[in-house]
């Protein structure tokens, strides 16, 4: 290997609001870094080819596939996982709606679903059911059949609108 390329990369980033410094293997994807190196097992590795959405986390304000971004690329990034978003309360109304509507069964897709849904809910207005379904079209759930998830997101958007929250 030439000297300019490394197979171990030093990164410094913020994860769930905390400073993290680490040396990561060049090929390690972000979700493995979060799970294996930081013990943040909320996001899941399932397909590892970018289809199922179980690894969805928030990087620099956007929902991304944790298996399609290398940890090495997260240097300087602001990363949030379901654990951190739970601690801050950012997701608490959505999480409560998921529980109340039973919008999860096995729970394996749920952290990714929540992060994906949060991005949609941050947009202005109350999304239509069609828009919710479209936005979730990259997040696989084998248990629920999706309807309860759509309901939970729709009711959260409605409740936020009623409260005057974005």
């Amino acid at each position: 290997m030439t000297a300019v390329f490394s197979d171990r990369i030093d990164i410094a980033l913020r994860v769930n609001g905390e400073e993290v410094e680490a040396r990561v293997p060049a090929g390690r994807h972000l979700v493995d870094f979060l799970r294996l190196d930081l013990g943040l097992t909320g996001a899941h590795a399932s397909c590892e080819h970018g289809v199922c959405g179980a690894c969805t986390v928030k990087v620099d304000g956007q929902a991304i596939r944790g298996c399609l971004m290398l940890a090495a690329q997260a240097d300087g990034a602001d990363v949030w996982t379901v654990e951190g978003l739970s601690d801050t309360g950012d997701l608490s109304d959505l999480q409560a709606a998921f529980v109340a509507r039973n919008a999860l069964q096995c729970g394996f897709c749920t952290p990714g679903m929540l992060v994906a849904a949060q991005e949609l809910l941050a947009q202005p207005g109350i999304p239509s059911r069609h828009a919710i379904r479209e936005h979730l079209s990259g997040n696989y759930c084998r248990c629920t059949g999706y309807e309860a998830i759509v309901d939970a997101i729709e009711s959260t958007a409605q409740a936020r609108a009623d409260r005057g929250v974005a």
Binding site: P25, G27, R35, L40, T41, G42, A43, H44, A45, S46, C47, E48, H49, V51, C52, A54, T81, V82, E83, S86, L91, Q95, F98, V99, A100, N102, L104, Q105, C106, G107, F108, C109, T110, P111, L114, R129, I132, R133, E134, L136, S137, G138, N139, Y140, C141, R142, C143, T144, G145, Y146, E147, A148, I149, V150
Partner: protein, 793 residues
């Protein structure tokens, strides 16, 4: 005390209400603990080298390059594993004639499907193990493969397992009545050929197991994503040469199962064998790509069906010829013959008719083994039955609803026995169909369909009635010699603070088992559901039982919990009576306190009773029983299975230029007996429906003639996603089983049983005016277009 579930004002009335799931709160915070989340000291990872050939002799394995990879510790061949692990044979005595050869955890000298494990690489990291696995040099000598189901029994086709004599794994024919006379006298005879797509479960959490062997104690612990911890305990003990008592299987959070995780998989047993050899924790997490060739497959059927009807729509006979191919081995220990057997048992199931002939032919082939997946056999039987019924209705110019009402078992006909000799205790086909018709506003929907047609938009309505087998007794597996418990147990105890702990042998896979148990126990004892903690999924700390499969958790595990809770209530009241100097039957427990039965006046909180029993037992009369732990078991005995019934409807729009089908809406009315938690039942139905919709529109594993899987990734094997799925209207008719006090039957598979058939009938309703028809699932745009005759070449 007899429970009066019908009275909503009764005390502690939790059964029948939507109670939140105790585990949902942590799952939405990402605090689940799935097998892959567990890290143990000295843990290593195993990755399997898998056969790239559908059929090949293994002449030699050179692992030298693999062993040179940094981090690699050991490479195991089939022979290495066979020194500590005996092979198994996936047959059951009651499936007469079923045969299958011994199967090894890792192939020893011959690989029989693409994906069969041929070596295992153990390394300190998954990455190192994967890199090394790619470097294991296996010398294969390809053998002729058997891949086509319909020619598997031809003389010209090689015999896959020469010791077995031929490629026939199992065959069963059932005849009732005079089938030839019925067809000869029929007003109309309709014939059709159906196909169901070979598919697989695609659990979001891949198959996962972590096994530790402690040679100091001679004890094995397996953290396993499984539906049947005690069955796994038995199998690991038997094949790795340990007493059952020295194997503990822990099943924590499981990321979806649907039958996929109820089987014994060679690679998982090999992982346990390796743990035993290396005496350290070994983790195997199936990669998604290998999941497609190693998780069991299902539903690979071709069926030729005939129906005979009289002029007034009476069904005179069904004649069914079912073929299925099950891969290279019958899966252990539940076998791969159940699905075909179910087709024979279930065809024509909702209908009161006299003449029946059904045959299933189950053949071996060099593909991934097939076995039980959600609603085993039901979707096939329902598709054939309901497809034929709709075709008959069309031929008679009858409405699909009318022909069903003409032939469904009458709601007062029970007990009844079907021509397939299935025994029904009590079903509600007509009430369910009537409710469905109301719910979907059938006439208005037909008007909408006509209005759409006037605009050039092609829509169709499809209906599918079904029966579903739940609450299996020992007649399902135990009778065949398998150590798979049909009985389940629950231990309920009161702790000093008055809280309740209930340990059950049925497991939580996300369907809400723990919520269901918590509300039953809460009602049975007389506490709040939040005062009940549920323990499941641990062979060491729960009663012995079957686990979660065949829609048995609520009906069997729930009844055991109810009886244990009632026994604990009585034990508590015996102590309370002594403490309060009154007969126990004048007391009740409500909301966690002992009260007067008559006026509900508070007498003593359970925490006070607990304090006395546990810390001041000296103040109680000597000899007073104070057993605040009670265990009860339950196994169905009166009927082999508790059948449920239901009916589904689908409304679709077909683009007749492209063949694209859009699902507009879906309805289901089903009768699972007593509904314990309406929300959980509805969501089981919805989730099950969508798996059936996947079968209807998307899911199909494609193989080439050499036995290579062509679409083994999530990009190529299409599962249902949110964008294409419809909203679903769910309702119930409740016919409780009289066999248990709880009265619950299963609800987990009803959705999957009927959804695909409803969609097929809806599409065909849409295509019929154009002379089109489809009967091969999934109904891809291309198949729909071909069904319309718009694509010739």
């Amino acid at each position: 005390m007899t429970m009066r579930f019908g009275n909503p004002d009764r005390p502690n009335s939790y059964i029948g209400k939507t109670v939140p799931r105790p585990n949902a709160g942590r799952l939405v915070q990402g605090r689940g603990r799935y097998v892959d989340d567990i890290v143990l000291p000295r843990m290593v990872h195993v990755v399997f080298v898998r056969s790239p050939y559908a059929h090949a002799k293994i002449k030699g394995i050179d692992a030298s390059e693999a062993l040179a990879v940094k981090g690699v510790l050991r490479v195991f061949t089939g022979a290495d594993i066979a020194t500590v692990c005996t092979p198994w044979v996936g047959v059951l005595a009651h499936l007469k004639g079923l045969k299958s050869p011994p199967e090894y955890a890792i192939a020893v000298d011959r690989a029989a499907w693409v994906g069969e494990p041929v070596a295992a690489v153990v390394a300190s990291t998954r990455l190192a193990a994967e890199e090394a696995a790619a470097l294991v040099d296996v010398d294969y000598d390809p053998l002729p493969e058997v891949t086509d189901m319909m020619t598997a029994l031809d003389d010209a086709t090689p015999v896959l397992h020469p010791d077995m004599g031929d490629n026939l794994a199992f065959e069963r024919t059932h005849v009732e009545g005079d089938i030839d006379a019925a067809f000869a006298s029929a007003h109309k005879v309709i014939e059709a050929h159906f196909k169901t797509g070979r598919h697989t479960g695609v659990t979001l959490e891949p198959r996962s197991i972590l096994v530790d062997w402690n040679p100091g104690e001679g004890h094995m612990t397996a953290w396993h994503a499984t539906q049947a911890p005690h069955m796994v305990q038995v199998v690991l003990a038997e094949h790795l040469g340990m007493p059952e008592s020295r194997v503990r299987v822990i099943c924590g959070d499981v990321g979806g199962s649907y039958g996929i995780k109820v089987h014994i998989y060679p690679d998982e047993v090999a992982t346990a064998a390796i743990a035993k050899i290396m005496a350290r924790p070994v983790k195997f997490i199936a990669d998604r790509l290998e999941s497609f060739t190693t998780d069991i497959h299902a539903r690979d059927h071709e069926i030729w069906g005939r129906i005979a009807v009289a002029e007034d729509g009476e069904i005179l006979a069904f004649d069914i010829d079912d073929w299925t191919a099950i891969g290279a081995y019958s899966v252990y220990p539940r076998t791969s013959a159940i699905e075909g057997n179910q087709v024979v048992n279930l065809c024509g199931g909702p209908y009161d008719f006299k003449n029946y002939r059904a045959k299933t032919t189950v053949v071996f082939q060099n593909k991934t083994p097939t076995s039980q997946y959600r609603a085993v056999g039901h979707p096939i039987a329902v598709t054939v039955t309901e497809g034929l019924v709709d075709m008959a209705a069309a031929a008679l110019d009858m409405d699909p609803v009318a022909i069903r009402h003409r032939n469904l078992f009458a709601d007062d006909a029970y007990p009844a026995t079907s021509p397939a000799k299935m025994r029904f205790e009590g079903l509600s086909h007509h009430a369910s169909l009537t409710k469905l018709v109301d719910l979907m506003d059938y006439d208005a929907l037909r008007a909408d369909q006509a209005a759409a047609k006037a605009r050039g938009v092609v829509r169709g309505i499809g209906i599918a009635s079904f029966i579903e087998l739940t609450n299996p007794s020992p007649m399902m597996y135990g009778i065949g010699g398998a150590r798979i418990s049909a009985q389940d147990g629950c231990t309920v105890r009161m702790d000093p603070d008055g809280s309740i702990v209930a340990a059950s042998s049925v497991t939580e896979q996300g369907q809400g088992t723990e919520a269901m148990l918590s509300q039953i126990v809460a009602e049975g004892v007389g506490v709040l559901p939040t005062q009940v903690r549920i323990v499941t999924g641990d062979t060491q700390s729960t009663p012995y039982g079957g686990g979660t499969w065949a829609s048995r958790g609520a009906g069997i595990g729930g009844e055991a919990a109810l009886q244990a809770a009632k026994a604990l209530r009585n034990a508590i009241l015996e102590v309370a009576g002594a403490m309060l100097q009154c007969p126990p039957d004048t007391l009740d427990i409500r909301d966690g306190a002992v009260v007067n039965m008559s006026d509900g006046a508070d007498r003593m909180p359970l925490s006070e009773l607990g304090r006395i029993v546990y810390f001041r037992g000296d103040t109680l009369p000597k000899g007073l029983p104070r057993e605040l732990v009670q265990t009860r078991h339950y196994t169905p005995a009166d009927y082999p299975f508790a059948f449920t019934n239901g009916v589904q409807a689908s409304y679709v729009e077909v683009d007749t230029d492209t063949g694209h089908v859009k699902l507009l809406k879906h309805w289901c009315v089903e009768d699972c007996g007593r509904v314990i938690n309406p929300q959980l039942v509805d969501e089981q139905i919805r989730g099950g429906i969508v798996q059936g919709l996947g079968a209807a529109l998307f899911e199909e594993l494609h193989y080439d003639a050499e036995g290579q899987l062509l679409n083994g990734s999530m990009a190529d094997y299409l599962v249902p996603m949110a964008g294409e799925m419809p909203d679903m209207i769910i309702a119930h008719v409740e016919t409780p089983t009289l066999e248990s006090e709880l009265g619950a039957k299963g609800a987990g598979e009803a959705g999957t049983a009927g959804a695909a058939a409803a969609v097929m009938n809806a599409i065909n309703d849409a295509l019929r005016p154009f002379g089109g028809e489809v009967t091969a699932m999934p109904f891809t745009p291309e198949r729909v277009l071909r069904g319309l005759g718009k694509l010739q070449d």
